[in-house]
């Protein structure tokens, strides 16, 4: 019997596979809503554009951010307040969201995700004939 290796179907390795065994923390977020969209704003200091990934699977949005640690053995630690680790947080998206139109931007360690609502549920005024 030979060992079956099923690697061929995975074409792109997700960031989460790379960091799953490392310690992680939950980024703090704001969630807001206006008539057109929902907004998620997350604090992810230390994450660069290349090290961030948004994964959408079964209406579950996962934010993954990898922090490049600059751990250096010649350093002596004097004060440690910040927590180490990468960022992972999951959100279950409601049915109101148009999942194909999600946009995101990363600026100064702050991630903004715009989740547009579906046209059918947007508030509108109905003309009276």
């Amino acid at each position: 019997m030979t060992e079956v290796k099923n690697n061929s179907s995975v074409d792109k390795k997700s960031l989460i596979d790379e960091i799953i065994n490392q310690p992680y923390r939950i980024p703090v977020v704001n969630i807001a809503e206006d008539e057109n969209s929902f907004f998620i704003v997350a604090d992810m200091p230390g994450v660069s554009k290349d090290n961030i990934e948004l994964k959408l699977e079964n209406s579950e949005l996962t934010i993954i951010g990898k922090v490049d640690s600059d751990r250096n053995n010649s350093h002596k630690l004097i004060l440690k307040e910040k927590r180490n680790g990468n960022y992972i947080r999951k959100f279950r998206l409601s049915d109101l969201i148009n999942q194909s139109q999600i946009e995101a931007k990363l600026e100064n360690g702050q991630l903004t995700i715009i989740l547009p609502k579906k046209e059918s549920i947007k508030p509108r005024s109905i003309e009276i004939a």
């Binding site: 704001n30 807001a32 008539e35 660069s48 010649s74 910040k82 702050q110």
Partner: protein, 154 residues
Amino acid sequence: MTLVRFNPMRDLLEVEREFSKIFNEFDQRFGFGRKEDNDQELQEATWAPLADIYEDNDNFKIKLDLPGISKDSVKISFSDGQLVIGGERKQELESENCKYHRVERNYGKFYRAFDVPKDIQEDKINAEFSNGQLSIVIPKSEKAKPRLIDVKAN
């Protein structure tokens, strides 16, 4: 109305403020002690960024988390052996009429001060901002650096 997140740090700042007030008054009555210039800023501050401090042979290094803040709205000053980092994070609405479901992030004025050892080169303090992290490098003065002493054999 701006929502302000519950922050245990604020109470801590309050305690620190009370203490320094008591000691300052005592010092000033006897003619020493300096006036707190940063008092105003400290009083207005609503949150304090978290910091890590490292030391290696040549430098002290302070790293602070300041996500979502542009480099122009952070003010770093050094006087009397104290390094002060202050600024403000404004709550920017995502759009004009939006309502919030959840606010976990800190907003408002922030303030952090560190007493720095004397043996440093204060004119060479260097600060850098990247990906929402502020790193401040404080070079040690030559005499404070550890050095190897050659042992001469006769």
